[in-house]
Structures are given as structure tokens and as C-alpha cells.
């Protein structure tokens, strides 16, 4: 715990592994939010859909 985190260097970019992991998780969450179906969501193009 007291050891410094590993750092990555790409050109002028320098970032720690924990920060890189957080950014990766955020990108994953955003992508999942775009593609995963929302529960209880009626199909907007279905006129017979349940307008809850």
C-alpha cells in the first residue's frame, strides 16, 4: 500500500495504473449504458406496446 503506483509513459502522456483503470471502467460503463436494454422500456415503434 505504501509503494507508489506503476506509471505509464507514452510521449507527453504520463498516467498511473489506478487512474488508467478508472478511465477504462468509465469508458466501459458508458459503452454499456448505450447498448444495454433498459428494463421495462416499451418499444417506441410498437403502437401496441404497453404505454406504461
Amino acid at each position: 500500500m505504501d509503494a507508489p503506483a506503476p506509471y505509464f509513459h507514452w510521449g507527453f502522456i504520463q498516467i498511473s495504473l489506478p487512474n488508467l483503470v478508472v478511465i477504462g471502467v468509465m469508458l466501459l460503463l458508458f459503452a454499456l449504458a448505450l447498448v444495454l436494454p433498459f428494463p421495462g422500456h416499451a418499444d417506441a415503434n410498437d403502437p401496441d406496446g404497453d404505454p406504461r
Partner: protein, 237 residues
């Protein structure tokens, strides 16, 4: 009270109606004007809607409310920390737990605020008169950064001292060190536990009211037939 007074002011209207009530508000000075404006702009059906447009049925629209949930945890744990003090939050097991709760709820607050920002940016959430809503969101983000910074300085440990001593040069370099001094613990702590959280909370309330006023922006590229009456196949809010 004279005979020339209008009935709504003289109390002579024995059968009050909605119209009479509105007339009374119209004549009620600044309070009446404010009440009338609120009734027109933000009726209760807009403030607490039971139905939302169908396009809200997406996880992207959850990020904003999760940010508010995280903020509630931040404020609640922060109130406890403020009452009990650093000797408690650094030493006792419960204190360290509440301290960690405060820290990690802040992390979630920022993570979901940025995800909310991404969703609104790529969906151009400022369209159709919603620019003020976007601007208030930007201000909330910026104040949150300052609040987090003052929080790191308020920890009362070596980490806080290290950050404060390094930050003072950065703050001085932009010319605001005279009235924002990271080495002034009283100023940093006061800003962190009072002024900045109140500002964030009030602006978040304003942000939500702004969303209620205009409704959630339609998806990019949506056409009128796509939208219908906006409630076709609607999902509950």
C-alpha cells in the same frame, strides 16, 4: 376598504373560483407575480411528472440521478465528519469507515458526473433553449473540483500538508493566492464544509428545476414522427 375596491380584495366574493384565485395572485404584488410565474412555468405536473418521453428509457439518463445519489452520501458523511472531528476520523474504526465513505462517495460523484457530462456532450444536451441548464452543469463541475481540492487539504494529515504546500505555488502563479491560500487551513476548511457544499447543493437543485422546465432533450436526429406526442410508449419516470 372602500366600495371601489375590487371584489377579490374586499372579500366580497362569496364563491371563490380558480379564476378569482389567479386574479388575486395577479394583484398580490411581487409575491403574487412570483406565484403566477411559477404556476405558468412550473406546474406540479412538470415539477413531478409521472410519465416521461419514451427516449428516456436508456441507461445514459441514469448517470445524472446516480450523481445526485452520490452527492447525498457525500453530504451525509461529511456532516458526520464535521461534527466529530479529525481525532475521531483518523483514529477510531468507525471514524475511518465514515472517512472512507466520504472519500469513495466523492469518487463515485465525480465518475458519474463525468459520465453524465459525456452523455450530454455527445447528445448536445444544450439544444432547444437548454443552454442555461448546460452552463449551470459546467459551473457545478468547476465548483466540485474546488470543493474536492479543499477537501484534500482538510484531511489533517501529511497528505493534506503535501498537497497544500505544492498547490500554493500553482495558486500563486495564476494570481489568486491573495484571497485563496491553500496554506490557510481555516479558509480551506471553512470553504470545504460550508460555502462550497451549499453552493453545489443549491446549484444542483436549480439544475434539476431547469431540466423539469424544458424537459429532457430529444435524441439527435429524431424526427417528428419518431417523437410522436413525446409520450408514445412512454416509460415511467
Amino acid at each position: 376598504m372602500t366600495a371601489s375596491d375590487p371584489p377579490e380584495l374586499s372579500g366580497g366574493d362569496s364563491a371563490p373560483s380558480a379564476g378569482a384565485a389567479v386574479t388575486k395572485r395577479r394583484n398580490g404584488g411581487l409575491t403574487g407575480a412570483a406565484a403566477g410565474w411559477l404556476e405558468r412555468r412550473l406546474p406540479i405536473s412538470k415539477l413531478l411528472p409521472t410519465r416521461q418521453p419514451y427516449y428516456i428509457g436508456s441507461w445514459v439518463y441514469v448517470f445524472g440521478v446516480v450523481t445526485i445519489a452520490a452527492l447525498a452520501w457525500v453530504v451525509a458523511s461529511g456532516v458526520v465528519l464535521t461534527f466529530v472531528g479529525p481525532q475521531w476520523w483518523h483514529v477510531s474504526s468507525v471514524g475511518r469507515f465514515i472517512n472512507s465513505l466520504h472519500f469513495w462517495s466523492v469518487q463515485l460523484f465525480f465518475i458519474f458526473m463525468v459520465l453524465h457530462l459525456w452523455g450530454q456532450y455527445w447528445g448536445a444536451g444544450w439544444r432547444d433553449g437548454r443552454a442555461p441548464t448546460w452552463m449551470v452543469g459546467v459551473v457545478i463541475f468547476l465548483i466540485s473540483v474546488v470543493t474536492a481540492f479543499t477537501g484534500y487539504i482538510s484531511q489533517q494529515n501529511l497528505d493534506a500538508q503535501w498537497i497544500a504546500v505544492n498547490a500554493k505555488d500553482a495558486i500563486n502563479s495564476v494570481g489568486v493566492g491573495a484571497f485563496f491560500n491553500p496554506l490557510n487551513f481555516g479558509q480551506m476548511y471553512g470553504l470545504h464544509v460550508m460555502l462550497l457544499p451549499i453552493a453545489i447543493t443549491l446549484l444542483v437543485v436549480l439544475h434539476v428545476v431547469q431540466v423539469r422546465l424544458r424537459g429532457v432533450v430529444a435524441p439527435l436526429g429524431a424526427t417528428d414522427p419518431d417523437l410522436g406526442d413525446g409520450l408514445r410508449g412512454a416509460t415511467r419516470s
